[in-house]
């Protein structure tokens, strides 16, 4: 995202994975306004933000804040398919893993997005490689996942955020 100067709106389409939206810079007012101009709730937080731990920003909702000290990320929501059809097998995974094994790779495809984990620890991962039941993700996972965690194809509800930095 280019830095267009204070007060210039920037529009960010949010992926299901954490998407960078703002970094406070020296010698500039660290104020920010985030406006959800999409039709879906988005979640705002830090680099590991997910729908299970971020701040919910409803459609047409707005956050204003001064003295921002953190780099801000946000993500869209996604809904998983029917639970129980596919689960994490072979081993639990730890944060930073890029490969895991599922009970069946049927219905998965390279380029699709999967929802990995239970309701309070779920995260979206993009599939960059698939060999039978072994899934390779485009980016490392953010969280640990226990054995038998559900893995389903995710339906994305993309959100768009208007970011206005430098003025409130």
């Amino acid at each position: 995202m280019p830095n267009l100067g204070a007060g210039v709106d920037q529009h960010v389409n949010l992926a299901a994975t954490p998407t960078w939206v703002f970094t406070p810079t020296p010698n500039a007012p660290a104020t920010i306004r985030l406006f959800n101009e999409g039709r879906n709730t988005v979640f705002v937080g830090q680099a590991n933000v997910s729908p299970s731990n971020g701040f919910p920003l409803a459609p047409n909702g707005k956050i204003e804040m001064s003295n921002v000290t953190q780099t801000i990320y946000a993500c869209s929501i996604c809904q998983g398919g029917a639970a129980g059809a596919t689960t994490l097998t072979a081993a639990a995974t730890t944060a930073g893993t890029s490969t895991f094994t599922v009970s069946s790779g049927a219905g998965f495809a390279v380029g699709s997005t999967l929802l990995l984990g239970g309701p309070t620890s779920s995260e979206a991962v993009s599939v960059s490689g698939l060999a039978g039941a072994v899934v390779t993700t485009g980016t490392p996972t953010l969280y640990d996942h226990v054995l038998s965690s559900p893995v389903t194809v995710a339906t994305l509800s993309i959100g768009q955020l208007r970011v206005t930095a430098g003025v409130i």
Binding site: Q46, N53, F55, P56, G61, M65, I72, S121
Partner: protein, 103 residues
């Protein structure tokens, strides 16, 4: 006109602490007007705000001591608000961000 008291005052610790419950028995108002609020960090520790008990100091939206977060919009779905500190306790005030004249 006297200043309104905060809707809730919460001692946020390093374990996720609920600040605002989005239910029919909400602490925000009894009329389910669960929107438009100000979260003020009145403590000395940064708080990290999120929507579930899974919020951590590495994931939540940071509000530094003395700072406030102004939110205009509704709380949707089952999104209650939680906060956590990295260490220590912070007193957090949640107040209304708009005047409810007619609902």
């Amino acid at each position: 006109m006297p200043l309104a008291a905060p809707v809730s005052t919460t001692a946020v610790t390093n374990s996720p602490t609920v600040m605002l419950v989005n239910t029919s028995a909400a602490t925000f108002t009894a009329s389910s007007y669960n929107r438009d609020f100000v979260i003020t960090n009145g403590g000395t520790a940064t708080i990290y705000v999120g929507s579930f008990t899974a919020v951590t100091s590495a994931t939540g939206f940071a509000v530094v001591p003395g700072q406030q977060l102004l939110y205009q919009g509704p709380l949707t779905g089952q999104n209650s608000l939680y906060a956590v500190t990295a260490a220590g306790t912070a007193t957090v005030y949640v107040g209304q961000g708009s005047v409810v004249s007619v609902i």
